[in-house]
Amino acid sequence: MPLLRNGILEQTSHAYLLENDMAKPKTDSTAKVEAVVSLDRFLEMAADDSAVTTQQVWLEPEHDVALLAPYVKNLELICVHFPSFTDGRGYSHARLLSKRYSYTGELRAVGDIRVDHILFMLRSGLNAFQFEATPNEALLQTLLHRYNHNYQPTYKLPQAS
C-alpha cells in the first residue's frame, strides 16, 4: 500500500479498522497490516486501564475528537477516515488534534484520498496519506509545493523540500 509519510512515498503496511477485535484485513493477506481500533473500542479499553493494548485509533467523521484529548500523549497512530473526499469533517478533526490537543504522532488520512487534496489535509495537520494506487511522485511534489503564500498562517505550508 502506498503511504506518503513525512514527505516520502513508501510502500508499507496498510491500516485497517479492527472490527470487534477480530482480525479482518481488507487487503491481500501477504501485505503487512496494522490493526487499529475504533474510537468506541479504544475508550472502552481506556476506561478499563489494564485493557489498553493498542495506541492506534480510527476516527470516523461523526466522532468527537475531544474524547481522545486525555490520551493523545501516548497515541502512536490516529487514522482519520474520509469516506468520500468531499466530506470535510476530517479536516476539523486533524486541526483539533494537532493544534488544540498537541498530538504529535502519526495522523493518517485514510479512505478516499486523492492527491489534489493532500495539501489542504497536510495544512490541517494530517501528516500521512494512505492511497489506494501509487501516485505519481513528481505530481505529488508539485502539488505540495505549488503555493508559497497562504492566507491562513496557522495552517502552515509544507517546508520547501
Binding site: G88, R89, F120, S124, L143, R146, Y147, H149, N150, Y151
Partner: protein, 552 residues
C-alpha cells in the same frame, strides 16, 4: 480599492497554474469525472444545460475600469459577446469552452481577479452594500472588512468541504442593502452606546427551499475577534451540519434544529479555546486595508450644476435623475445606478460594448471604479453632479439609462430554463412578459419603489421570497406554472413573502401582477405607503380575491 500585493499576485498565479494542469490531467484521463467536477467547481466552472458556465468573483461587488474592460474582452473573445451579472454581485459567462478556461483565468489573474470559490460547498464570495463608501447613512465602510474576510476565506484548508455552500454578507450602514438577514452569516457593523464599533453577527438566514431570517448569535462582537469568531461558527457547522441530505445541509437547518441558544452555546464553547489558536489579524493590518479604500476627494461646492433649470427642465433627464441617482455623502456628487434591465436584454446581462462604455465613464467621472449590485445592476458611485447630464447622455444610446431603478421593471431574475439545468421554468420569458406589460415609465413611477423577484425553481437564486412580489416557477404535469408570494423584503424589515394562492399558468402571470398592482393602488392609504406595508396591514386576502376572481 484593494490592490494586490506580490503575495496575492503569486497566489492567484499559482491557482491558475494548478487549474491549467488539472484540465490537462482531466483531458488525459488522469482525473476522474467526479473529482474533476469538484475541482472545477472550486474554480467557478459549472456544467449547465448547454455548456460550461464560468462564474467569476467580483469581491464584494467592486471593480476597476481596467477589470471591467478585461471582463468585456473575455466576453467577446471567449463567449457570445456578453456576460451576466448575478445576485451575488459576480459575473458569469454562459458559453466558455473547457480548454479556454485556463486562458480566461490567466486573463483574470492579469487584472487581479479570479473565480475561486464562486461555486462548490465552500465559503463563497463575500457580498456587501454596493453603495459603500459613497452613501450618507454609513457608520463604517464595510469593504476593508470584506477584503479581510476574502483573504482569510480564500482556499481555507479546513473549510473547503463544508456540508453545503456558505455565504457571508456585510453591511456598515443604517439601511441594509446587503440583505444580511438572509445569509448564512450576516454581519452588521454598528456602534454601541459608548460609540465603540462592533459587529452584530447573524447566523442561519437564507432562502432556497426552506427560507429563514437569520438569528442574532452575537449582538456585539469586538472587531478584532471577527476572524476567530467566523472560524468558530464554521467549525461547528463543518462538524455538525447535516451531510445526508442536500436540502438539509445549509447552516440554517442546523441552527433551527438546535435552536439559536444551543447553537450559540456550542459556538461560544468552541470560541473560548479557538480564539487563541486560529488565524487573526493585527490592528495595523486592518488599518492598511482601510487605507486602500480612501474617501473620494471632496469636491468644492462651486462644483454644482451651472444652470440646473435648463437641465431639470428636460423631463426625461429629470425622471432618470429621480430614480437612477441617489444622494452621495458629498453633495457635489451623486451615486448613479446603471440599469441592466431594459426591453432588449435579459436582466443583468451586459454586452462587451456596454461594459467598455461603462468602464470609460467610470474612468472619466467616477474615480475609475464600478460596483455590481445584488439587484443585478451596476453603479458609478462618485459622479460629480456637474457631469450627470453627460453620463446620462452617454448611457442612453447604450440602453443603460432606463429610469427604472427600484421600480417594477427592475426585476431580479435567475437564469432559469434557458441556462440552468435545475430550472422548472423559463424565467427570462416571464421577465419579458412582465416588462412588456408594464413598460410605461410613468405608471412605474406612480407605483413608487416595488420589487419583483423571479426564481426558476425552489433554489431561489432569484430571491423570490424577499420580493414585494415573488414569482417561483413550478412544474405541473410537464407545464410551467408560477407560484406568487407577496410582501417579502430583504432590507432592515426583512420578511418572507406570503403565498398568494394556487399557482398561475404561464400565460397569465402578467395579468395576475396587474390585478395585484391594482389592489395595491386601491388599498394604499397614500402614495407613501409601500407595497410591503400594505400587505402587512391587509394581509394577502384582498389581493387573493382580485387575482383569483379574474382567473376563475
Amino acid at each position: 480599492m484593494y490592490q494586490y500585493n506580490e503575495f496575492d499576485k503569486q497566489f492567484v498565479q499559482s491557482r491558475v497554474d494548478e487549474f491549467s494542469e488539472q484540465v490537462q490531467r482531466y483531458n488525459a484521463g488522469q482525473l476522474d469525472e467526479d473529482e474533476f467536477k469538484q475541482l472545477r467547481l472550486r474554480n467557478g466552472l459549472y456544467y449547465q444545460r448547454h455548456a460550461y458556465m464560468l462564474r467569476v468573483a467580483i469581491p464584494y461587488g467592486l471593480l476597476s475600469s481596467t477589470q471591467l474592460r478585461q471582463l468585456a474582452s473575455i466576453a467577446s473573445d471567449y463567449d457570445k459577446g456578453y456576460g451576466h451579472f448575478t445576485t451575488r454581485q459576480n459575473i458569469q459567462y454562459n458559453w466558455p469552452k473547457l480548454d479556454d478556461v485556463p486562458k480566461i483565468l490567466q486573463q483574470l489573474a492579469d487584472v487581479e481577479m479570479h473565480a475561486i470559490q464562486t461555486s462548490g460547498n465552500c465559503i463563497r464570495n463575500t457580498t456587501t452594500d454596493p453603495l459603500a463608501g459613497a452613501i450618507g447613512d454609513e457608520i463604517e465602510d464595510p469593504r476593508p472588512w470584506c477584503e479581510l474576510i476574502r483573504q482569510w476565506s480564500t482556499l481555507h484548508p479546513e473549510f473547503n468541504w463544508l456540508p453545503r455552500k456558505f455565504k457571508i454578507a456585510v453591511t456598515g450602514a443604517l439601511s441594509d442593502r446587503a440583505a444580511v438577514q438572509v445569509h448564512d452569516i450576516g454581519l452588521r457593523l454598528h456602534k454601541n452606546a459608548d460609540n465603540v464599533l462592533g459587529f452584530e453577527v447573524l447566523v442561519g438566514g437564507g432562502l432556497g427551499r426552506t427560507p429563514y431570517i437569520g438569528s442574532v448569535i452575537n449582538p456585539f462582537l469586538a472587531p478584532e475577534h471577527l476572524l476567530t469568531y467566523l472560524a468558530a461558527i464554521l467549525r461547528v457547522y463543518n462538524q455538525e451540519g447535516r451531510r445526508d441530505n442536500l436540502y438539509k445541509a445549509r447552516i440554517k437547518i442546523l441552527v433551527n434544529a438546535l435552536g439559536i441558544d444551543n447553537f450559540r452555546e456550542k459556538v461560544e464553547q468552541e470560541w473560548q479555546l479557538s480564539q487563541h489558536e486560529d488565524d487573526t489579524f493585527t490592528q495595523d493590518y486592518i488599518e492598511e486595508l482601510k487605507a486602500q479604500f480612501p474617501a473620494p476627494p471632496k469636491l468644492s461646492n462651486s462644483n454644482t450644476i451651472d444652470s440646473p433649470d435648463q437641465i431639470f427642465s428636460n423631463p426625461l433627464f429629470n425622471q432618470w435623475y429621480k430614480s437612477n441617482t441617489k444622494p452621495h455623502k458629498d453633495s457635489a456628487r451623486r451615486i448613479v445606478l446603471v440599469s441592466l434591465k431594459n426591453n432588449e436584454q435579459a436582466a443583468g446581462d451586459a454586452t462587451s460594448e456596454q461594459m467598455r462604455a461603462i468602464a470609460d465613464l467610470a474612468e472619466q467621472y467616477s474615480l475609475g471604479e464600478i460596483r455590481s449590485t445584488h439587484e443585478q445592476n451596476l453603479v458609478l458611485a462618485h459622479v460629480p453632479t456637474v457631469h450627470l447630464f453627460d453620463v446620462w447622455n452617454a448611457l442612453k444610446p447604450l440602453n443603460l439609462a432606463t429610469p427604472n431603478i427600484g421600480k417594477l421593471t427592475d426585476m431580479i431574475v435567475c437564469p432559469g430554463l434557458d441556462f440552468c439545468s435545475l430550472a422548472n421554468a423559463g424565467t427570462i420569458a416571464i421577465y419579458d412578459q412582465i416588462y412588456a406589460r408594464f413598460d410605461s415609465i410613468d405608471y412605474q413611477h406612480s407605483l413608487g419603489d416595488l420589487s419583483i423577484k423571479i426564481s426558476g425553481c425552489m433554489n431561489a437564486c432569484g430571491h423570490h421570497h424577499v420580493g414585494d412580489i415573488g414569482i417561483l416557477g413550478v412544474e405541473k404535469s410537464g407545464e410551467e406554472w408560477y407560484q406568487l408570494t407577496l410582501g417579502g423584503h430583504a432590507g432592515n424589515e426583512a420578511a418572507l413573502g406570503k403565498r398568494l394562492g394556487k399557482a398561475i399558468p404561464k400565460a397569465e402571470v402578467a395579468d395576475a401582477i396587474e390585478r395585484i398592482l391594482e389592489t395595491y393602488v386601491e388599498q394604499r392609504n397614500n402614495d407613501e405607503e409601500t407595497f410591503q406595508q400594505v400587505v402587512k396591514r391587509t394581509g394577502v386576502q384582498p389581493f387573493k380575491e382580485k387575482v383569483y376572481a379574474i382567473a376563475a
